[in-house]
Symmetry: C2
């Protein structure tokens, strides 16, 4: 057995025994793409598939961090252990804004049956979706019965991240008409549950009416009103999430959702590995720099440059160790 | 010469001669990843680098389609030819909402020196950024002096698309505090010019004050007020975009921006080619399906599945034809 395999095996055995520090270390290894993390994930994977995974997404300022924290507490009151994955805005964005909410969420970490993980997002390789799925899988294998993935916004990245969840909750707030604009832009199509947070503000009835009008008749997307800062509506939200998962199972749809998810995860991982392998060597990076200069100088188009980059990597695109 | 090369050469020569239909066909070939498109792009690439490329991004409902249309007209009044690339929301999103704006933009197409291209976004391979850059490059080579790229939202995808531009314009609207929330989430870091559109609405002064307060002192991000539906402020916006480009050139920063852009484009293309090559064959797709099923059944973790997918592709990851 290699040292890596031995370390992964020991880590996994401690993690499965309930050791929080081992869980934290495994997550760090996984997030960093470390070989120990990969081995650990491979050992843990057969233990996954038991957790109920919910994604909480919405624009900034909708209070979804607070809502996620309240939801975690609600599930704890129901006797279920909880993992929280908070995905930071992608690297071109600042990281400061949500700190207050994150700190509030740390209250939860005093509870041994809650595990909160704040994730930074990756740079140019774009591995956010892949890594988030892996982190959720580790929490699942570690026995967390509910895993909440909190993401900001609703761009393509967030849609991919949402695909790691059984149930996607989209959070909106009254006023400004942005809710309806968001709806028009298609968030309906990824939402399994809609939340109007800050439901004590003016305009809540109008927004609720508009959401109901937009929701296609044949779907059953509930609209839940919450005031997360006062813990109002959290129990109803937890009920709605549970009901959606129940519906998935009883309709047999859960299998299709699981296949879709696996497909996205494999493709995201393949994308990540291919490029990581390519750029893992000095010579690979030097070759990229050279090609980039040629493109900037208009001597080469990006397509041809990419082709040459791949050709120079030869037959070992997947080697990342 | 192959038939493909001959077709590309003829297309390019007609395009460079000002044939609009040849331009439209070349763009379709490029967007579809057709070999003729790639050959054409390779032939056209040395002619690129002359256009001034501006990205216009912002949430849905900010009126940025209308603004983009007005900006195109403004540049025409200044005697410059214009290309517009309108990027639709990604496939999980509906395409209907912006149709009104798109139709309004079609007015422009009566003008021979304006070329509008509406792009759908790609599915699971995630090639939006790569393709947008290519489309902008073709318009550049075709002699358009200004290319405006309009994108919705400000997620990771939009950040990548924005990286195809010399100047990134972020559009906000007053009211609701969303502007400031967006700012906190880091849009400042990609904005070269800020626009408050719908500046006839209440709250415009408050938003402007907040934006100015948030903008770091040492940057020079102007805040322009517009009412796009009445064509107010468009000239000021065009001035601000031109001033930014001027600043890039005089400070020598344009070279660094061009290198960054080339790097992103090459990596985006490499990502796209690798996966396209992998999934281009019956056997590759069958292999993927098989691996996806194993992951869904928890027999395999996504990382290992991706590794096997890449291994099975052998030494020809880049073959996409």
């Amino acid at each position: 057995m290699t040292a890596t395999a031995a370390e992964a095996e020991e880590l996994v055995s401690r993690l499965l025994g309930g050791d929080r520090r081992a869980l934290a270390r495994a997550l760090t290894f996984v997030e960093n793409g470390d070989p120990v993390g990969r081995q650990a994930l491979s050992l843990l994977y057969p233990k996954t598939g038991r957790a109920q995974i919910a994604g909480i997404t919405g624009g900034s300022g909708t209070g979804k961090s607070t809502l996620t924290g309240q939801l975690a507490k609600e599930y704890r009151r129901r006797g279920r252990s909880v993992g929280v994955v908070a995905v930071d805005p992608s690297s071109p964005f600042s990281h400061g804004a949500l700190l207050g909410d994150r700190i509030r969420m740390q209250e939860l970490t005093a509870d041994r049956d809650v595990f909160v993980r704040s994730m930074a997002t990756r740079g140019e390789l774009g591995g956010l979706a892949a890594t988030t799925g892996d982190v959720a899988a580790v929490l699942d294998a570690a026995g967390k019965q509910v895993v909440l993935i909190e993401t900001v916004g609703a761009g393509q990245d967030e849609v991919e991240v949402a695909s790691a969840a059984d149930t996607t909750v989209v959070v909106l707030t009254p006023g400004g008409g942005d809710g309806v604009q968001a709806m028009k832009a298609g968030i309906m199509e990824i939402a399994d549950v809609l939340v109007i947070n800050k439901a004590d503000l003016a305009g809540v009835d109008a927004l609720a009416a508009q959401l109901t009008a937009i929701t296609p008749r044949d779907t059953h997307v509930p609209v839940i009103r919450t005031v997360a800062t006062r813990n109002e509506g959290t129990a109803e939200l937890a009920d709605a999430i549970d009901a959606h998962r129940q519906r998935l199972e009883s309709s047999g749809e859960r299998e299709r959702v699981a296949l879709d998810r696996a497909r996205r995860q494999v493709l995201a991982q393949a994308r990540l590995q291919l490029l990581a392998g390519l750029l893992d060597s000095e010579s690979g990076r030097a070759r990229l720099d050279q090609l980039v200069k040629a493109v900037a100088a208009r001597e080469l188009d990006p397509y041809t440059a990419a082709q040459r980059l791949l050709d120079s990597a030869g037959g070992e695109p997947a080697s990342t160790t």
